[in-house]
Symmetry: C2
Subunit: 252 residues, 2 copies
């Protein structure tokens, strides 16, 4: 399939590389900053562009993978094109892409970082389309890069994105707070690696409610009080108190 990629961030990069590897032709990569467009374009053999007036108008698919806030602005500047328009955002309705008619969504449920190589085949891809034809095209495309493709409405997708914030962003922030505690004591943060790995492994095999361990689920008030005394940082203390209460309430 002939594809134009709009965006050059982590999601755009990982997806363009996966599509290119699957044999699709990335015709152009657009970024407001030409250097960023060039960087991704060179990886996938595409033409880099930094103006929307230069866009190739007869591609089969336009993937909008830009910051949520920039999306309406970019859409408003798009010239008329053939083909399907699809965005990759979790919390934005497909209607952001109107008045273009063949519009849809291609949402990858994963956390992307620049220097991480990912096996795209394992990444759940959630698609939505305004017509049967668009759904069929996005499904066919999605299945060339992922073995985990699902049709999901925008109403449900935003809850999926919300759950992902808890399971990924907030989880990662817990690791960050743990690393601050370890660093302050001069203990290597990466001693936590087997604990982090096993906690995640349990959550993928078991119900996380059953997997819960620690002082809060036992409501071990002595340990909870001692831990709070060790925390000088009021922000960490507030988080400790709120999450311990929440775990306790869940397991009452």
């Amino acid at each position: 399939m002939e594809i134009v990629v709009l965006g050059s961030g982590n999601v755009a990069t990982h997806m363009a590389v996966a599509l290119n590897r699957a044999g699709h032709k990335i015709v152009q990569v657009y970024s407001r900053t030409i250097k960023n467009a060039e960087q991704l374009a060179s990886k996938v053999g595409a033409e880099p562009i930094s103006g929307l007036d230069a866009i190739h108008c007869s591609a089969e698919l336009y993937i909008f993978s830009v910051k949520d806030d920039s999306l309406p602005d970019i859409v408003s500047q798009m010239p008329p094109t053939t083909g399907v328009w699809a965005h990759t955002a979790g919390s934005i309705p497909v209607s952001v892409l109107s008045p273009h008619k063949e519009r849809g969504v291609l949402y990858p449920l994963q956390t992307f970082s620049r220097d991480r190589t990912l096996n795209f085949r394992d990444i759940p891809l959630f698609i939505e389309g305004e017509s049967e034809e668009t759904v069929a095209l996005l499904k066919e495309l999605a299945e060339t890069i992922s073995g985990n493709v699902h049709l999901l409405s925008g109403d449900k997708r935003r809850f999926l994105h919300l759950a992902a914030v808890f399971a990924c962003n907030f989880t990662n922030h817990m690791y960050a707070l743990a690393s601050e505690i370890m660093d302050e004591e001069g203990i290597s943060y990466h001693l936590l690696n087997p604990l982090i790995t096993e906690t995640a492994a349990k959550a993928t095999k078991m119900d996380p409610h059953t997997a819960q361990t620690g002082p809060a689920v036992r409501f071990d008030e002595k340990v909870i009080r001692k831990h709070q005394e060790l925390l000088n940082d009021p922000r960490k203390r507030e988080i400790y108190a709120l999450l311990s209460r929440s775990i306790h309430k869940t397991h009452q």
Copy 2:
């Protein structure tokens, strides 16, 4: 080594099984509830006992792996014995085992669940001892079951335990909250598996501050507001707000 294990919970079980496999003789397993003692004892070829007066008094090591709150009570009822006494708790000072003189700590930094098989060799074991002889004995023993043994003072160990609460218990609670959101929408929670696995994998390879993604780190107020509107549960809404603020402050 001849070892008596006091306790029959998850930590006691995983540790007794690992010690038994490494060739040590588990002489007795004590639990207040004889059925629990029997269950673990049968796994490691030990004698189950439910009274502290029945304890074998000339073992080389007594491992106290009971609930933190029960520990002082059990210690106070212990008959005089030879050998070293060691507990497995993260937040309890070694002094809880006085007046016995040869006392120490053997703290495994891991989350243990009944039905999970673990490779004990990867688990970091933190030891402490009141004398050089006790340290030497605990180190020798620890190295027979783990390739990740460290000497650490009780003062530092309690910070390690505190960091572990963030990296494991709070992290797992985030998975539990995500699963509640998914369940309410009728979307399979385990679709989050690749996201959970990659988030944890990143945290073991990168600095979690660098690994952070999501609306809070970008301070995408629109998405944050929309997510909060989706949350009917005031507890989840409070957690969402506090953690988003904390991520934002960390990355300002």
